[in-house]
Symmetry: C2
Subunit: 354 residues, 2 copies
C-alpha cells in the first residue's frame, strides 16, 4: 500500500484568545492523530520555540516561520489588510498562496481572516464572497450548515452555490454518498418565504441539479437533523446558530440550578455524573470547532477564538479532511457544471412575482 | 372599591386540533381565574351545549353563539375569507367589530385568522400588516419578541413600529416601567447587518424615541434574557423561535436517553423527578401560549393549535391582560406621537449607504 501524500497545514499560531499556547497544544494533538500532516507554524519565534521544545513529536512534524506582528481581535479588517503584511495570519495565508501549504487554520479575527484571504487567495470563479460553513450536532448525528454570517443578504445564486458547497462539504467530511439538502424557511409550503428562496428551490428540485433536495425546512428541523445540509442566508443562519448556542446554555443552567437545589438532587446528580458528561460530549462545541470559509481559492479554516487545544486540534483535522478529499476542486467542478442554469435562476429574482 | 369592568372575550370554539373540548376546558379554567371575564363561545351548538352543561361556572359566565361552519387547519386564507362568513372564527371576530366583545381568541388556522381579522377589524393607522408577538422563557424570566413570522421582509418603519408595540406589550403584561428593547442582528457592533437595521437603531437610540434602547443583540441573547423586548423581522424571528423549540427538544431527548441508559441512571432519574418537572415547568410552552396579532384595530390572540386546556386558558388570560391594560390605545398613542420621525427614518432605507 502506498503512503498517503503529506498534507501541509499553515497555522496562524498567534490567533485566538489563548494563543500561542493552545495553538501549539492543539497542533500536538493533531500531530498524534494525523500521521501524514506537516504543520507550518507562523508566529513569534521567541514564544513558539520554548513551547515547541516541550513537544518533540510536533517539532518533528513542524516548520517554524517567524512573524513579527500579529492581528488583534479588535483590529478592523481594513486595518489588518493595510498593516498586517508581517502578521502571523498573513504569513499563514501567504503559505497557501505560494503553494507551501495546502490549507490554513486560524483562531484569530474572523473579519481580518476573510479580508486577507480574499485579497491573497482570491475567490473561486463566479463566487463573490466567502460563506461560513460548519458541522453541528443534531438528534440524529451531525449536519452541515451554511452560510453562518458572512453574507447578510443573499440572492438565489448565492443560495444555490451554498447548496453545492454544502453538499461537497458533507461528502468530504463524512463520505456520505448523497446528502440531503434543505433550504431554511418560515414554513415548508412552496408559497412561504421570499422570491430568492422560491427561485433557489425551483432550481434545486430539478433532477438535473444533481442535488438531493429535501425542500424547505424550518428552524426546528436543524437540531432534529431532518437533512444533512442546511442552506440559508448568512443573517438567519447566524441567528439560528447563536440561538441554538444560547438555548443549550439556558437549558443547562436551569438543569444545574435544579441539580443543586436540594441534598437529594445533589446526590442524584452525583450518580448521574458519567451519564451527564456523555450528554455534554454530544453537544461539546469543541468537537464541532472548525468552520471553513468556503468560496475562496484555497482551504481556509476558522477555529473559534475561545477554544482550547482539543477544539483547535479538531479544526486542524477538518482542514486535513478537506485537503485529503480535494474539497475545492470538487466544488469548482460542481459549480462550473451548473453555472449557466444558476445564472438563469438568479435572473428570476428581479422578475415580479407571477 | 369599585368593581373591575367586565372583560368580554369572544372565542372561536371550533379552532384548534382538539376543539371544541380543550377550548371549553380552557375557558372553564380561565373563568375560575378571571373574576371579571365574560366569554362569547362561537361554534356548533350541538357540540358545545353538552360540554357547557358539565361546567356550571363557565355556563354562568358565557354566551353561546351558534355558527354552522368552521375553518379547517388546511384552508387557504383566501378560501376562508370567501367561504367562512358563517364560521366560528368569523363570528368571534365579528363580535369584536360590533363591540360585543373586547378581544377574540382562536386556536385555529393562523393565516385565516390574520386575513379575516384584517378584513373585518382593519389595521391601526400607519400599519400595513399584523405582526406576531409572544412572550418566551429566558434564564432571567421572560421576554417579549416580535415579529415571529407574519412579515418576511421588514423595512425600518416596520422594525420601529414593532419596538413600540413590543414595549407596550411588556408594560401591559408585566407592568414593567421601562422595558429594554434590543434589535436582533448578527453582531452587536454598529456596522453589522443591513441598512434597515441601522436606520431603525439610529431612530430608537435617540432619547426622543422614548424607547429604552439597548442596541443590537445576537441570537444567544434571546434565551439569556439580555433585554425585555426583542425586535426582529418575521423571517429571522420565526427561525429563531423554531430553532429554540427544536433545541429544547433535542437537549431533552439526549437527556431522556441518558436517564434510561442504565439502572443507576434510572434510579437517579427517579430521585430527580420532582426537580426535573420544575425545569420542565419553566420552559413549558403552554405557559407562554397566546400570541397576539398586533397592529390590528382590535385585540386578536392566537393560541397554539396543538395546545391543551391549560395552554388555551393562558391565551385567554393574555387577551384579558391586554384589554385590561388598554393595549391598542396605548400603541396607537405611542405611534401617532412619533409617526413623523418614523417616516423620516424609513425614507433613509432607500438612500445609498454613506
Amino acid at each position: 500500500m502506498s503512503q498517503a501524500p503529506t498534507v501541509r497545514i499553515a497555522i496562524d499560531a498567534m490567533g485566538g484568545d489563548r494563543a500561542p499556547s493552545i495553538v501549539v497544544s492543539g497542533a500536538q494533538m493533531a500531530a498524534e492523530r494525523l500521521k501524514n500532516a506537516h504543520f507550518i507554524l507562523c508566529g513569534d519565534e521567541k514564544q513558539l520555540k520554548p513551547l515547541l521544545a516541550k513537544k518533540p513529536l510536533l517539532q518533528s512534524k513542524a516548520t517554524l516561520v517567524h512573524a513579527k506582528d500579529s492581528i488583534a481581535a479588535s483590529d478592523k479588517p481594513s486595518h489588518a489588510l493595510r498593516h498586517g503584511k508581517h502578521s502571523s495570519m498573513r504569513y499563514a495565508i501567504d503559505a497557501v498562496k505560494s503553494n507551501k501549504a495546502d490549507a490554513v487554520v486560524s483562531a484569530g479575527n474572523t473579519g481580518a481572516l476573510m479580508a486577507i484571504a480574499r485579497l491573497v487567495l482570491r475567490m473561486l470563479p463566479t463566487i463573490e464572497r466567502p460563506a461560513i460553513v460548519t458541522s453541528l450536532p443534531t438528534i440524529r448525528g451531525e449536519l452541515v450548515m451554511l452560510d453562518l454570517g458572512a453574507n447578510v443578504q443573499c440572492d438565489s445564486q448565492n443560495l444555490i452555490q451554498f447548496a453545492y458547497m454544502g453538499d461537497v462539504y458533507a461528502r468530504c467530511l463524512w463520505r456520505t454518498q448523497n446528502p440531503s439538502v434543505g433550504l431554511l424557511n418560515v414554513g415548508s409550503e412552496d408559497t412561504k418565504g421570499h422570491n430568492e428562496l422560491h427561485n433557489a428551490a425551483t432550481f434545486l428540485k430539478h433532477p438535473k441539479s444533481g442535488i438531493n433536495f429535501h425542500g424547505f425546512i424550518e428552524g426546528d428541523d436543524i437540531s432534529k437533523g431532518t437533512v444533512d445540509v442546511v442552506v440559508c442566508d448568512g443573517f438567519s443562519g447566524n441567528i439560528a446558530l447563536k440561538t441554538m448556542e444560547g438555548t443549550v446554555i439556558t437549558v443547562k443552567t436551569f438543569l444545574e440550578r435544579t441539580l443543586r437545589s436540594s441534598l437529594l438532587s445533589q446526590f442524584a446528580a452525583l450518580l448521574l455524573k458519567p451519564a451527564l458528561s456523555r450528554v455534554k460530549a454530544l453537544i461539546d462545541p469543541r468537537l464541532y470547532n472548525g468552520a471553513m470559509l468556503v468560496g475562496l481559492n484555497g482551504i481556509v479554516v476558522k477555529s473559534h477564538g475561545g477554544t482550547d487545544g482539543v477544539g483547535f486540534a479538531n479544526a486542524l483535522c477538518v482542514a486535513h479532511e478537506l485537503v485529503t478529499h480535494d474539497y475545492n476542486r470538487r466544488v469548482s467542478d460542481a459549480l462550473s457544471d451548473h453555472q449557466k442554469e444558476i445564472d438563469v435562476a438568479a435572473r428570476l429574482d428581479q422578475a415580479p412575482p407571477s
